[in-house]
Amino acid sequence: MKEHFAERLEALRRRLILMGSEVEKQIRASIEALTEGSAENARAVIARDEDVDRLENQIEEEAIQLLALEQPVAIDLRFLVGVLKINNDLERIGDHAVNIAEGAERLVGRPPFQPAIGIRAMSEMVQVMLRQSLDAFIARDAALAQKVIEQDDVLDAKNEGVIRQLLTYMAETPALISHCLELISVSKNLERVGDLATNIAEDTIFIAEAKLVKHHGVELAR
């Protein structure tokens, strides 16, 4: 029975890792759709979101079942709770990928635009953060997770910079207002993905070290 439980935990972990890679792909594809102006790629991202949602449901069901039937303690309990939270975070990252893809679809055919460079830098950073948070979860590497948490402030600053720049453009060139609004939305979505990657990193620390880390690395008393 115990061994069976361990195997089911391992299978759950497998599913979550695959869910993570799936969401990573979604983010990457949505940004590609945006930079390459490909409506086809954007629609593919939107279509694949169903897959991500289904994966989320499967993982949630399995985790809840394990919680209820096995009544785990200590590390196993932390792991299951962490999986539930990370699962939820990943699903929301998937939703943001869809938002970005929808923006990309609306922007198809528009000429390239200067502030897009700031967004590209942000998107690269977000992808690295997401990758590292998942790496940290896989390796139970609290130090790497901490690194992700620390990057979030830089990302927030980048987001503010991009938005400020876009607002200036809007003021100068009213014809670009709708274009700029789309890009602002993309930027905000990316910033949210960064926040969720940070959540994943915090949950990883919770699993690995039984420490509750919330709100940008402030460790709570247990």
């Binding site: 391992e10 972990r13 497998r14 890792i17 695959l18 890679s21 990457r28 896989i138």
Partner: protein
């Protein structure tokens, strides 16, 4: 000596038993011997003393003297007992007390002496209060009523002598035993050493140390065991060597396979992975790790789950980042080991790219052929419904002719290209003067150029020549020149420059057309690639010219490069490997 070991043990036991028996016998024999000797001595002394006393019985004075002197000299108690049992004298009793001594007629030795002449007894002396050995002898002929001479020695003295002997004896027995133990021990040790050696050798084999030799000395049984062990070891070594050889072979094959191969267990953990797999996944040490951590892609991991769940082969083609394509084949393994499936990864990026190119090529050829064919079909249809003297007719005929020519050009180019690409073009090399070639080619295209108001100028160094096929070199130059003329604006000039770069002959065709964007410069040599498709109607071409130029140049060991900037014209340079004219200088 087949039974040497058992015999050895038997002999050792026998010797031990013998030694023990002997020592027991020896102790009892010495006891008796000492007593006997004492008795013998006493007897001779008593005989001697009796001779001295017999002549003078009853003479109390000299008798007493004799008794006491004898006692002193012989170290024994001497008693003379009268016929009636009264003690006449006793050496160990003061003379004054002799008269008060007990009647000795009943003493066992006295009784025995009177009966048999001699009597002996070992008993406690009431007079001296100690154990004594008595010997009595009747004096004179009338035995039963004769006086009796008795001598006694203290048994204590005797025992002391005895015990001295016994000590020696005990020492000897002890020494014998010690010797036995020593010798036995050595024997046992000698016996045990080969056994221990064999045991050690066997244990070494069990531990996997096959270099240890079994002992070659010792009793026969051990030697037999030892040789059995040696045989076992050599057959084991042989098996191990065979298994190792086979393992090394399969390991070498496994490691050097160009495809990435991994073997996983039921928990989806990597049991083994070869070099290609490690390189493809960028995992230096995947053994023991969960496969999902290494692949981290549902498209790659899914086939493993499916193959294991359905116990059926599962294949997939997976597009990775950076336009890399992997083909994955997962095969479930027969039960019996902890390996449940093997996954084979193949990088099919190049293959896929070729496939895509081929598909695009077919599409391009069909597209290029469709335009003239539909023009011809339309013109032909119109012609059937037109009177022969209709003024439109010659125009339609001309259209058919032109489109047919275009199709032929296209087909010629395609044939050329496929011949060149498949390496079936045979060059007939000769020395070709580039300036003369440029002049001839320019002459061929002069009419076309004039119709577009484009002039052709040749700037050439003297005597630049290359070794090559004149017709094919002409084709290179014609295609480049044709392009240059086509893309030049009206009033423009196309320049052919022939010179040397270093010592390499070089041919440049330069125009002042619209130029080629940097991003597209390396794609213009691809088949059917045209920079601006919207203008291809204006400047009809097959889209194969530059591809043919590139391949023909390669056949001549030459290199084609382009230098261009949008709006500032283009320059195509063919650089040859060697100057043919130079050779003769």
């Amino acid at each position: 000596m087949r039974f040497a070991l058992r015999l050895n043990l038997l002999l050792a036991l026998l010797a031990l038993g013998l030694a023990l028996t002997l020592s027991a016998v020896a102790v009892s024999v010495t006891d008796r011997a000492v007593e006997d000797r004492a008795r013998d001595r006493l007897r001779r002394e008593i005989d001697f003393l009796a001779e001295q006393i017999e002549p003078r019985p009853g003479e109390a004075g000299p008798l007493a003297e004799l008794v006491r002197r004898a006692s002193r000299l012989l170290g024994a108690r001497v008693t003379v007992i009268a016929t009636d049992g009264r003690v006449l004298d006793d050496s160990d009793v003061p003379r004054s007390e002799v008269a008060g001594m007990e009647n000795h007629a009943g003493r066992p030795e006295v009784v025995a002496a009177r009966a048999a002449g001699y009597g002996t007894a070992i008993r406690h002396s009431a007079t001296l209060e100690t154990d004594l050995l008595y010997l009595a002898r009747a004096l004179g002929p009338g035995r039963s009523h004769a006086p009796v001479l008795r001598m006694a020695i203290r048994l204590g003295d005797l025992r002391q002598v005895e015990s001295q002997y016994e000590w020696i004896l005990r020492g000897a027995v002890f020494a014998a035993c010690a010797l036995l133990v020593l010798v036995g021990g050595v024997a046992v040790a000698r016996l045990a050493r080969p056994i221990r050696d064999v045991t050690d050798a066997a244990l070494a084999v069990a531990r996997g140390d096959l270099s240890r030799e079994a002992p070659e000395r010792g009793p026969a049984e051990i030697l037999e065991l030892s040789s059995a062990l040696s045989r076992m070891k050599s057959s084991l070594l042989e098996s191990v060597a065979r298994v190792e050889r086979e393992h090394r072979l399969s390991e070498a094959v496994f490691e050097t396979l160009p495809d990435g191969v991994t073997v996983i267990d039921a928990q989806y953990r990597v049991i083994d992975a070869n070099r290609s797999f490690r390189a493809m996944t960028g995992t230096p040490d995947p053994a023991g790790r969960p496969l999902v951590e290494i692949l981290r892609d549902r498209a790659l991991f899914g086939p493993f789950e499916e193959a294991i769940a359905r116990r059926a082969p599962t294949d997939a083609v997976v597009r990775r980042e950076n336009e890399v394509t992997w083909q994955l084949a997962v095969r479930p393994l027969p039960p019996g080991s902890r390996a449940v499936a093997v996954g084979i990864l193949r990088d099919v990026t190049a293959f896929e790219r070729n496939e895509a190119m081929r598909r695009r090529f077919v599409a391009d050829v069909s597209h290029e052929l469709r335009t003239p064919v539909s023009s011809i079909a339309a013109a032909a249809e119109t012609l059937t419904e037109t009177e022969p003297d209709d003024p439109e007719a010659p125009r339609l005929v001309e259209l058919v002719r032109r489109q047919a020519r275009r199709m032929r050009e296209l087909i010629d180019d395609l044939t050329d290209l496929s011949l060149i690409e498949s390496g079936e073009v045979a060059l007939s090399p000769e020395k070709v003067d580039l300036r003369a070639l440029a002049g001839e080619t320019a002459e061929e295209l002069r009419a076309t150029a004039r119709s577009r108001d484009v002039s052709i100028r040749i700037e050439s160094s003297e005597g630049v020549a290359v070794e090559g096929d004149r017709r094919r070199l002409g084709q290179i130059l014609r295609n480049l020149l044709d392009n240059a003329v086509k893309f030049s604006p009206a009033g423009g000039t196309v320049r052919i420059r022939i010179d040397r770069v270093g010592r390499k002959p070089s041919l440049v065709v330069e125009d002042d057309g619209p130029g080629i964007p940097l991003a597209e410069q390396d794609r213009i040599f691809q088949r059917f690639y045209q920079v601006d498709r919207s203008r291809s109607k204006v400047r009809p071409g097959t889209g194969l010219g530059l591809a043919i130029v590139k391949h023909l140049a390669q056949l001549h060991g030459a290199e084609v490069t382009v230098a261009s900037r949008p709006g500032q014209g283009s320059a195509f340079r063919v650089t040859f490997g060697r100057d043919a004219a130079e050779k003769e200088v």
